[in-house]
């Protein structure tokens, strides 16, 4: 059983939902990333999504674009992101780490080389935003052989036929993008998310996380009422952008507030 699977099962057994924060590796500089990952765990993170910076983040809004640019200004590469994960693993063997980014840096390294290095570094899952299931067969096979879970996005517009294609290749959890747009957009409608998740669960047996547009503890609490996991990204990256002073403490405090709101979601 993968670390993601066992984490999800343990939470489900307690009637709780996973809290999945996202930060971009190397933002604001490569030296603080591991410390920030530990700070996220201290705030109640169950899984960490670690953004791999890319020069052309087509699916991201301005907040995460700027995070990518800050990291790239320090020359942060996929290999360095793997090294950061390995360093995190020296003191945290429990919290799953999912690398989230775009296909090209992985392609450039080569799927086989990447999968081997990622598994050795202690990475648990991989989410490549621009690799839909139609193009993912080769990647999925290689990642699976190395014990890595391939995470897919689902959208409000994903038809049943493609839900089934995702179900065939996905492992760990799936990530439901709760609205049209790029990361960091506003206005998440929890009622429509609830309706859509009910439909998705007919075809998707994995836990379903919800992200895009979750910016505060109250929204997280309401989403936790209908989803298996809550993903928070741009809101945390804004915290990083606000300055390095007291950053780890601020991230921990913000997530702790979200965590406690989520844990009161189900009575």
């Amino acid at each position: 059983m993968s670390r993601i699977e066992s984490t999800m099962q343990a939470l489900a057994a307690q009637g709780r939902q996973a809290l999945i924060p996202f930060i971009t590796a190397g933002d604001p500089n490569p030296g603080v990333t591991v410390k920030l990952m530990h700070a996220l765990v201290a705030g109640g993170a169950d899984i960490i999504e670690l953004g791999v910076p890319f020069s052309d983040p087509m699916a991201d809004g301005p907040v995460i674009q700027r995070a990518s640019e800050r990291a790239l200004a320090h020359g942060v590469s996929l290999r360095q992101v793997l090294a950061m994960t390995a360093e995190f693993r020296q003191t945290d063997t429990k919290t799953p780490v999912v690398l989230m980014g775009y296909a090209n840096p992985v392609e450039a390294m080569g799927y086989e080389v990447f999968a081997k290095a990622a598994a050795e570094a202690g990475v648990d899952g991989v989410l490549t935003v621009d690799l839909p299931p139609e193009e993912a067969d080769e990647c999925a096979g290689i990642l699976k052989a190395h014990g890595l879970d391939l995470i897919f996005l689902l959208a409000p517009t994903t038809p049943v036929s493609r839900q089934l294609a995702v179900q065939r290749l996905a492992r760990g959890y799936v990530y439901y993008v709760s609205l049209k747009g790029v990361t960091g957009a506003a206005h998440l409608d929890v009622d429509s998310v609830a309706a859509k998740l009910a439909e998705l669960r007919k075809n998707i047996s994995l836990p379903i996380g919800v992200g895009f547009g979750i910016r505060d503890a109250d929204t997280a609490r309401r989403v936790a009422g209908v989803a298996d996991a809550v993903v928070i990204g741009s809101r945390l990256v804004q915290e990083v952008e606000a300055g390095e002073a007291g950053l780890a403490e601020r991230l921990t405090a913000f997530l702790a507030g979200v965590r406690s709101a989520m844990d009161t979601a189900r009575t």
Partner: protein, 403 residues
């Protein structure tokens, strides 16, 4: 070539061999599906195609002539150079062939708003033009650096009623404009049609843009037969994303004995690394803007900044069909430098009284290198993809002239 080539690309998921495909976030998948289905219906709808052809004839002014550049050919002392005059189209470039087709598609799909990315501004102008023509709202994304170096086109787009949004992320050029247009599309997908200007992007765009640009080569085949009683020995076109090149190449792919030569932007020289010539530089394949293709990137898979005097060729990738034509050896790809393109620009002005676009000047420059190596009875057909009025400020600045 001895064996006749039977060419039918792409496959049903948009692959040209190992290139092409659909590499986008899940949020765009259904919009691309909808587009593909509507496009297939449209091209099989005789009414739609009749309207497209009517617009090309009466609004764009097609067919564009083929012109024998006799003085320049004589001066070069070799093969005869013929020019396919896409510069004479309404809006001054080949781009309008595609924007007419896509705007008709947008209207057919009930979209009230169109968006576009632009480099040199030619596609932006062509998009703004058809948006005005069909009463659609139009937003054009343009790299902030390109806004500065192509100011006449920025003003033209505004005159036509479009909103021009300067993009300041990344390298502030065409690729970043395309990222921003994709972000707009994913956010406003219900109301908005994205008019991609080149034969790149996720399927079905490379196929659809090619099909709308094939009018260039289809006409040229008839015109060459009329003028010289045969087809040219080589067809030469500049390649950034490669839409004018694929438009003139594609109808010739199955014609034996016609060399197809794509000319990339060599910038300061391919050996300097400051260029925009992924095919000539043997770049590795990669994934950008929804398709797999040869791509200029560093060893970590980050897309590198390109360099060209020509904003329209300043792109790190290339349409996937060009990558495929390179793989199968049906087309050759070469590069010329900024300086070589500039010389060809001036030569065409002085010998033929035609001011070419800097993009097209790359194709002209290669023709001027090739022609003297060939005999006087050989024929080169160069796609003169656009006129150079928009480049006059750039040229004046280089010559130290204040306009």
């Amino acid at each position: 070539m001895n064996e006749p080539l039977h060419y039918h690309q792409p496959d049903e998921r948009g692959h040209f061999g190992q290139h092409g495909g659909i590499y986008v976030a899940e949020t765009l998948m259904s919009a691309l599906d909808e587009l593909r289905i509507e496009y297939e219906k449209a091209i099989n709808d005789s009414e739609f195609m009749a309207e497209y052809r009517y617009e090309l004839k009466h609004y764009v002014g097609r067919p564009s002539p083929v012109y024998h550049a006799k003085r320049w050919s004589e001066q070069l002392g070799g093969a005869q150079i013929f020019l396919k005059r896409e510069d004479l189209n309404h809006t001054g470039a080949h781009k309008v062939n595609n924007t007419i087709g896509q705007a008709l598609l947008a209207r057919r799909m009930g979209k009230k708003r169109v968006i576009a990315e632009t480099g040199a501004g030619q596609h932006g102008v062509a998009s703004a033009t058809v948006a005005a023509r069909y009463g659609l709202e139009c937003v054009v994304y343009m790299g902030a650096e390109d806004v500065a170096r192509q100011s006449p086109n920025v003003f033209r787009m505004k005159l036509l009623g479009a909103t021009v949004v300067p993009v300041s992320s990344g390298s502030k050029t065409l690729k970043d404009a395309m990222n921003e247009a994709m972000r707009d599309w994913v956010t406003n997908v219900d109301s908005t049609y994205y008019i991609i200007g080149t034969c790149a992007g996720p399927h079905p765009y490379p196929m659809l843009v090619r099909d709308f640009q094939c009018v260039i080569g289809d006409e040229a085949k008839v015109q060459m037969q009329d003028m010289i009683g045969r087809q040219p020995d080589a067809v030469i076109a500049c390649v950034g994303g490669g839409s004018n090149a694929i438009g003139i190449f594609h109808p010739y792919i199955e014609v034996p004995g016609v060399r197809l030569i794509g000319v990339e932007a060599g910038g300061d020289g391919v050996e300097t690394g400051r260029h925009a010539a992924p095919l000539t530089a043997n770049a590795k394949t990669g994934v950008l803007h929804g398709n797999r293709t040869y791509l200029m990137q560093d060893e970590n898979g980050q897309i590198v900044e390109t360099h060209s005097i020509s904003a329209g060729l300043d792109y790190p990738g290339v349409g996937p069909e060009h990558s495929y034509l390179k793989d199968i050896g049906r087309a050759e790809y070469v590069a010329v430098t900024d300086d070589e393109a500039l010389k060809a620009f001036h030569d065409l002005c002085r010998y033929e009284g035609i001011i070419p676009a800097l993009e097209s000047s790359h194709a002209l420059a290669y023709a001027s290198k090739l022609a003297p190596t060939l005999s006087k009875d050989q024929v080169l057909l160069v796609n003169l993809s656009g006129r150079g009025d928009k480049d006059i400020p750039t040229i004046a600045k280089l010559d130290g002239i204040q306009l």
